[in-house]
Amino acid sequence: MRRMRILAGISLLVLLLAACSSSTDSDSASSAEDTTATEVEATTEEATELDDSNCASAEVFCIGLVTDIGKVDDKSFNQSAWEGAVAAAESTGGFAKYVETVDTKDYANNIAQFTDKNYDAIVTVGFLMAEATVVAAKEYPDTHFIGVDQFIGEEIPNLTGLIFPEDQAGYAAGYLAGLMTKTNKLGQVLGLEIPPVQKFALGFEAGAKAANSAVTVTTVYHPPADNGFADPVWGGQEARKQLDQGADVIFAAGGGTGNGGLIEIAKDPGAGESVFCIGVDADQWGTVPEAQPCLITSAMKLITDGTSTLLGQVNDGSIAGGNYVGLTGLAPYHDFDSVIPDDVKAAVDEIVVGLKDGSIQTGVTL
């Protein structure tokens, strides 16, 4: 009996090994499987029915996107860039696909997934990927690279950096906050202390002080940790603390951490009447509907627009290397359009125009 068990165990192992080796040996069988698998994948991907088997040909415009550490549905910059890629794929009749980065050391490899298949354009998201993108762009001159949030120091013809003056969006939001506050206390609940966040935060403070010299701004970054942009619990607690200390307009900037802050502010009994919140990156009225009770606007950087515009340029061949400055601005006021006084709206509009034409400088340098 015992021996039977042992034999059964071993034969199971042998069978497994055989099954495994046969599947790798028989090319015809597995290639058939491959095609079925690709079809499945094409329907699950948010793209057209095209696949990437003929990206090398000129007719099919193939877009690849590599996320920074994080997921493509992060309601933040990765998601915005991906939406831009999808939009570009739709308008050009092309094809878009993404790979999510788990480990920063995989950047080069993840880019190579796309270059191996001769993709026409590759979007890399996040400043951490700047170096890997430059290296890849030099290695694959026939592919055009778009680096979101990456300032390109050296001119490479097939590499365009999509950068944003976050400080300007922060400045406009801060200006609005400075005019809206009754307590003259503003708060900021921020993700990790890294350049894009710092620019938003410093811009916000500068704008608030320009609008209202009596205002004080409380600035708190998430403690250094792996989850600096994914800690809504901390974001909520910090927002609550700032509310308790009298801040009545709070700028929450930092992925999931900031979203936690927005949701906590929305729960306040005074939300939308005496207490307001301001979102970041996208129009968070749509991305975080829980925040609607307090969300007067969002300091936007239009990553989706910038990405799809640049991809369109890649498709029609008009793209240039170097840096492309994307648009920033304030999201619509939505339901708060009637709450925000007309003179405030007019003043903020003026600031936005001034920032755009350069007559107003934020004074933010890193």
Binding site: K71, D73, K75, E193, T218, T219, V220, Y221, P223, P224, A225, D226, N227, A230, D231, P232, V233, W234, G235, G236, Q237, E238, R240, K241, Q242, D244, Q245, G246, G256, N259, G260, I263, E264, K267, P289, E290
Partner: protein, 330 residues
């Protein structure tokens, strides 16, 4: 009562001292004191619950390193169950049920299969991280928010009223639980059995206590608390689920449990202290009173914990049989 005071002289005195200092600060700056203590409590709450999970487990002889995973899984289940059913209550209960399930797994694996307890815990952590990430669907919102319940009269007390008596059900439940657990652990039959099983299982066995059943049941029931902590995180504290968003709180809770010398009250004090240190760190950053980069300020809670422990340690001892699967003789 006097016996209690005598036995816990130090604890009572230091509690009184903390209260006096807190009120001292309250009269100096009521807004900041209240808000920092509020921060401390909400920071500490999941840590307290999770530390209770650890305490019940280790007191009965089972290391639970899977608290992190249990919380993450229940936070996930609670959130998506609440979204799907439109009811926070159903969400919370299903979250607690998933905590129970994870706890039962640990209990059965560690006791019945005599699997290595740390490995069983690590398995829970990885599985939870994998499942909650793999099956996460974006774009969901909770149907409602967890209401604040203001306790009449008590909430009018200066400072304490605002910090302790104007909170959600999770806070009240946790505070009651800590008291109940402290009393049960040291005075009830269940507590005696639990500690016997964790300290000296063979003696407990001789005395007629079913070591296996006690351990499995305790670890499973503790899972409900981990589930509550998870439900609190996603339904109340954040109102949101994010991949991996327990962010090491389960591991921190283990540290808190040891800091609190495997005692419910001790662990609560340790968690509150840790929450307070974090609140102070964020306040120092906000007020810019000292010109030190935030990275260094934010080390404060961790450094202070290490210093306090190294000054005070040496006296506490973990339960005798913790980490060792029990094997009946013969």
């Amino acid at each position: 009562m006097s016996k209690f005071l005598q036995r816990h002289q130090k604890a009572v005195l230091s509690t009184l001292l903390v209260i006096v200092i807190a009120y001292g600060f309250y009269f100096w700056d009521s807004v900041r004191t209240t808000s920092i203590l509020n921060f401390s409590l909400s920071y500490a709450l999941p840590l307290i619950l999770a530390a209770m999970v650890g305490i019940i487990g280790e007191r009965s002889g089972v290391v639970n390193i899977g608290i992190e995973g249990q919380m993450l899984l229940s936070a996930f289940v609670a959130f998506f169950a609440a979204v799907a059913t439109g009811s926070l209550i159903i969400g919370a209960f299903l979250g607690m049920a998933s905590g129970l399930l994870a706890g039962a797994f640990l209990g059965i694996a560690a006791v019945k299969w005599e699997m290595d307890q740390i490995i069983a815990g690590v398995v829970i952590n990885i599985v939870a991280a994998g499942i909650t990430s793999f099956y996460y669907t974006p774009g969901q919102s909770l149907p409602a928010i967890v209401p604040r319940i203001e306790i009449p009269y008590l909430s009018q007390i200066p400072l304490i009223g605002q910090v302790f008596f104007n909170k959600s059900i999770f806070v009240y439940a946790t505070l009651i639980l800590v008291v109940v657990l402290q009393v049960m652990l040291f005075t009830s039959k269940w507590g005696l059995r639990t500690r016997a099983v964790g300290e000296y299982p063979s003696a407990a066995d001789t005395a007629g206590i079913n070591v296996y059943r006690t351990r499995i049941l305790n670890v499973a029931i503790a899972g409900v608390l981990a589930g509550t902590a998870g439900a609190y995180l996603s339904l109340d504290a954040a109102g949101w689920f994010e991949r991996g968003f327990t962010a090491g709180r389960g591991f921190l809770a283990l540290a808190i449990m040891i800091f609190g010398a495997w005692n419910p009250f001790g662990a609560m004090a340790a968690a509150l202290f840790f929450g307070f240190a974090s609140g102070m760190a964020s306040q120092l950053q906000a007020d810019e009173v000292i010109n030190i980069p935030q990275q260094l300020i934010n080390m404060l809670p961790y450094v202070m914990t290490l210093i306090i422990l190294s000054l005070a340690a040496g006296k506490v001892r973990p339960p005798g049989a913790v980490g060792q699967p029990y094997k009946k003789e013969g």
